[in-house]
């Protein structure tokens, strides 16, 4: 699916820090009707939601229960050995709030079967030969944090955390970057398989939890967390997901939690791994860009310089453009000439 761009001929709208404010009751109702209609059209009978302990899957679970009632919703927790144990605590609290009995599926054994951890750690060791997970070393990959100031491109580094807590970061060569990402993506693809097991065993639909930031900028794994039957909140900015979370009564613990990747062994937040900007800045700037707000106006409202706004706009553009393939269905040819003659 291609991202629809706002026509440049449309006049810019009045832009303010309140531009992303939703009517959460109306939006919840709109999404609920969408879920009910889409699931019915696809001849499915309920919803399966992977719950991570994060805000997006929490809102999707709440909306799914609103659409079908808890008896027709399955919530699945899928940690692996790298996951923060608190995530399961939050996920259980969420499920209890909405009357759903969650299923725990630890995917560590599946990932070991895929040799995920060795493949990932071998690549890390090519950069840091001393890295040894068995000795308590942890690692993560990160992007530069200075997007607004210096417009650096999206080039990953790898950070290790030694057993004594000291961190070191080095640039990540291309071959090692690809291997680390490919191995790590086995996690999301294993989770997709698990969710579809539970969905197909009941003829339920797998609910997507990607928000607009993730969906449009390509912060998802093709046929991993991107492999779903419908996208429930992919039209909402992260800050709008928080508005719905508050309205729907998502537990405070989840509303207050910093969004994490919970993918690598070292703790990291999503800003460090991918977005490079806090959501309350990114979402408004992106909204401004989509609605043709002049950079000078966006800068004034956000308390930034025009150059900083340009850097953010450029990064949004690059991420959308370079990840278009993730959102497309596999291309195919039309019938050959002469068919039927």
């Amino acid at each position: 699916m291609q991202i629809e761009q706002i026509s440049p001929k449309q006049p810019s709208m009045r832009f303010s820090k309140e531009s992303l404010n939703l009517d959460p009751a109306r939006e919840s109702e709109r999404i609920t009707l969408f879920i009910q209609k889409t699931v019915r059209q696809n001849m499915r009978r309920g919803a399966v939601v992977g719950i991570s302990g994060g805000i997006d899957s929490a809102v999707v679970l709440a909306l799914s229960v609103k659409a079908f009632g808890p008896e027709r919703v399955v919530a699945v927790m899928m940690p692996d050995k790298d996951s923060d144990r608190i995530s399961e605590t939050y996920a259980r609290e969420l499920a209890a709030k909405f009357g759903v009995d969650p299923i725990l599926e630890d995917i560590t054994a599946a990932l070991q079967g895929f040799d995920c951890y060795h493949r990932r750690d071998d690549a890390i060791r090519r950069v840091f030969p001393e890295f040894d997970a068995a000795k308590g070393y942890k690692a993560k990959i990160v992007l530069p944090s200075d997007l607004l100031e210096s417009n650096t491109l999206n080039v990953f580094s790898v950070t290790i955390v030694r057993p004594d807590g000291k961190q070191e970061t080095k640039p990540l060569p291309s071959r090692d970057m690809l291997q680390i990402i490919a191995a790590s993506n086995l996690k999301q693809r294993s989770r997709m398989s698990t969710l579809y097991y539970h969905a197909e065993a009941r003829q339920f639909a797998v609910m997507g939890s990607a928000n607009k930031n993730e969906h449009d900028e390509g912060f998802f794994v093709k046929y991993g967390d991107g492999g779903v039957d419908l996208q429930v909140i992919a039209h909402l900015f992260k800050t709008q997901v928080y508005q719905l979370a508050k309205y729907l009564g998502v537990p405070e613990s989840i509303q207050k939690r910093t969004p994490t990747t919970d993918t690598y062994s070292a703790p990291q937040d999503q800003q460090e791994f991918f977005y490079r900007l806090p959501f309350h800045v990114l979402d408004l700037l992106w909204y401004a860009k989509e609605h043709n707000v002049p950079k000078v106006e966006a800068a004034k409202v956000m308390g930034l310089t025009e150059a900083q706004v340009s850097h953010a706009f450029d990064d949004i553009d690059r991420k959308i453009r370079t990840t278009e393939f993730l959102r497309l269905l596999p291309p195919m040819l039309g019938a050959p000439e002469g068919n039927g003659q």
Partner: protein, 85 residues
């Protein structure tokens, strides 16, 4: 100006990123990012190529569009780094 820096860069992009036997047909000032010729992986590979081919050290804060977004910009960057500007 001779093309002793531009030519290897063009050849690298054509051969290793585009897998083209016709060479890079875009002008030296074409935006590689905007034209969809390279993505973030291509940027990393170009950094590695410039470091090994021209014996320059590229710092992370130098990996910016004004240094890497075109053949011309990369060549100018290398010339500044090597003092050949």
């Amino acid at each position: 100006m001779n093309q002793e820096i531009e030519a290897p860069i063009r050849n690298f992009i054509a051969t290793n990123l585009l897998y083209s036997k016709e060479g890079l047909t875009h002008p030296d000032d074409a935006s590689l990012l905007h034209e969809g010729i390279i993505d973030s992986l291509g940027v990393v590979e170009l950094v590695e190529f410039l470091q090994s081919k021209f014996n320059v050290k590229v710092e992370q804060n130098e990996v910016r569009p004004d240094n890497f977004d075109s053949v011309a910009k990369m060549a100018a960057f290398v010339r500044r780094k090597t003092g050949a500007a």
